[in-house]
């Protein structure tokens, strides 16, 4: 396991999670969620879990994000409305 890469990935995870919490635009937050899931997928492959990486990439970054986007389209886009 590569410690530098691990450190970078962990930093990115916290960073994207923080951005997701702070963004007022929900659509942007959903896109950041997709990025978060992708970084998580890379993290899984770093942790020697290729099955999880595939699942996370398809389910987390794919399906869940699409569900978020659809919901945002059908409801509101800004957080404070």
């Amino acid at each position: 396991m590569n410690w530098t890469l691990n450190l970078v990935l962990l930093t990115f995870l916290v960073g994207t999670a923080f951005a997701m919490i702070m963004l007022k635009d929900l659509l942007a937050a959903a896109v950041v969620f997709s990025a978060y899931s992708l970084i998580m997928a890379i993290m899984w492959s770093q942790l020697r879990a290729p099955d999880l990486a595939l699942t996370e990439a398809a389910v987390g970054a794919g399906v869940t994000t699409v569900l978020f986007v659809i919901t945002i389209f059908r409801t509101v886009r800004k957080e404070n409305r």
């Binding site: 595939l54 398809a58 794919g62 399906v63 059908r74």
Partner: protein
């Protein structure tokens, strides 16, 4: 005020958790309890006993197959919950926000998706069928199938997508994974062994037994893949249909 209070409470929780984690087995150590107590048998004998080279497939389909049956039931219940809340799309008339968008998807996107769609589908089939001896399996492949159909729907329209897949077939496919699990389990029950046993009596253990076990696992994998794909598709279809558009006449595409 409330914010400060919550942050302080969470910080306190964090310190306590850190104090707990400080005593936990070190990460990456191969002598921790979780790697010495139960796991060695899976690693040493898993391939021989359970019949797949991918140990994760062994665990989720064979050693802990009952959990996976529960997992299939979880996603099936999620589908039932979504449909009980939102209802299914009305076929051929449903329009979605995507269909009604003023920004039409460009020709480049449409052509790309038309070309990519079969490739993604093929990759999903590979994942499902190859889950035995490399990374992949029913869930992964099913999710990719679902995602590919979802992308197709987002680029083309809900009307077009629902026209292609008959509803009756989809309802049957959704229950398929649960039913296949039960069918495989009941074969064992009728033969007088435990539920979800793949190696049946009357078969010499060895090549034939391994083959039979592989057939069972493979059929479950395929069923999970197809069902998960169908379930994700149905969930997304139920969510994107706009109820306001339902009664409008269908506008043919230019």
């Amino acid at each position: 005020m409330k914010k400060l209070f919550v942050i302080l409470a969470l910080a306190a929780l964090g310190v306590v958790l850190l104090w707990v984690v400080g005593k936990m087995p070190e990460m990456g150590d191969s002598r921790t309890p979780d790697k010495t107590h139960v796991v060695p048998r899976y690693i040493e004998d898993g391939v021989k006993e359970a019949g797949a080279e991918n140990l994760i497939t062994d665990v989720i389909l064979n050693y802990r197959g009952y959990d996976t049956m529960g997992e299939v039931a979880v996603i099936f219940s999620a589908l039932c919950a979504v449909i009980a809340l939102l209802d299914r799309e009305k076929r051929g008339v449903s329009r979605s926000a995507v269909d009604a968008s003023q920004v039409r998807s460009s020709r480049i996107v449409r052509v790309t998706v038309r070309i990519l769609f079969p490739v993604i589908f093929l990759f999903a089939v590979y994942l499902i069928l190859h889950g035995e001896n490399s990374a992949g399996g029913g869930f992964q492949g099913g999710a990719v199938i679902g995602a590919s159909i979802i992308v197709f729907t987002l680029v083309f329209t809900l009307i077009e997508s629902t026209r292609d897949i008959p509803l009756t077939l989809r309802v049957i496919l959704e229950s398929l994974s649960v039913l296949t699990f039960l069918a495989v389990g009941f074969i064992g029950v009728f033969k007088g062994v435990e539920f979800l046993t793949y190696i049946l009596p009357g078969l010499s253990p060895g090549v034939a037994g391994a083959l039979r076990s592989q057939v069972f696992m493979m059929s479950i994998e395929i069923a999970i893949g197809v069902a998960v794909g169908a379930i994700f598709t149905s969930i997304v279809f139920a969510m994107i249909k706009e109820e306001n558009f339902e009664l409008e006449p269908h506008i043919p595409e230019p």
